[in-house]
C-alpha cells in the first residue's frame, strides 16, 4: 500500500524551515527518503530503520516512529538547492513502495 505524504506542496523563502511527513497503514521495517529535481533522477538522502532513530546530514534530518508508522523529514534553514520533489519510500520486507511526493520550492 502506497504511503501518504503531506503536504503535497510547499513554498518557502530561503532560510525558512520545513517538515515533510510520511505515513503508512502497514507495519514498517524502514523508511527511505529521496529528492528528485525536475528532469533528473531521484537521489538518495537517507534510510531510517525501525528503532525510532533519527538521522541527519547537515541541515536535513529525519525521524522514524515505527509505532505510529510515520516518518518526518526536517529541512532547516532551506537553501535554493533544496527545491525539488521529495519522496518517501516505505518497506515492510524487501520492496520499497514510494509515496506520491511533496513538491518543495525555495524562493529568494
Amino acid at each position: 500500500q502506497q504511503p501518504v505524504q503531506s503536504p503535497q506542496a510547499v513554498i518557502l523563502r530561503e532560510g525558512e524551515d520545513a517538515v515533510i511527513n510520511c505515513s503508512s497503514s502497514k507495519a514498517l521495517y524502514s523508511v527511505h527518503w529521496y529528492r528528485q529535481k525536475h528532469g533528473e533522477a531521484p537521489v538518495f538522502l537517507m534510510i531510517l530503520l525501525k528503532g525510532g532513530e533519527q538521522k541527519g546530514h547537515e541541515k536535513i534530518s529525519a525521524s522514524f516512529n515505527e509505532k505510529k508508522q510515520q516518518s518526518s523529514l526536517y529541512l532547516t534553514a532551506s537553501q535554493l538547492s533544496y527545491s525539488g520533489t521529495y519522496f518517501c519510500g516505505t518497506t515492510s520486507y524487501d520492496k520499497v513502495i514510494f509515496g506520491p511526493g511533496t513538491s518543495l520550492s525555495v524562493i529568494p
Binding site: Y34, A41, P42, F44, F87, D94, V96, G99, P100
Partner: protein, 113 residues
Amino acid sequence: EAEVAQSPRYKITEKSQAVAFWCDPISGHATLYWYRQILGQGPELLVQFQDESVVDDSQLPKDRFSAERLKGVDSTLKIQPAELGDSAMYLCASSLTANQPQHFGDGTRLSIL
C-alpha cells in the same frame, strides 16, 4: 552524472510496436529495479531482481511487459505491443542488496503516438 547507465534516453514509437530498454547497474550491485514514473507521481516498482532472479514482479503487466537479467548484471525491459498508456519515464535503479540506498539511472522517456 548518474552511475547507473540506461539507454535510450528518449524513445518515440507508435502503438502496437515493440520497445526495449537497457540498464547497466553499478558494478557489484546485486539488486536491480525497474520503475515506471508518470509525471507528478512517485516511481512505481515494475520488477525487482536479486542477481538473476525475479523477487517481485507483482505490478508488471505480464501480458505485454517482460524483463530479464540473464547473467545477473545488465537488464532489459521490453514492451510488446506498446499502448498509449505506456507513455511515461522508465527508471532503472540498483543497490548493493535489497533495502539499501538505491542509485537511479537518468531514465528513458517513452512517448507512444
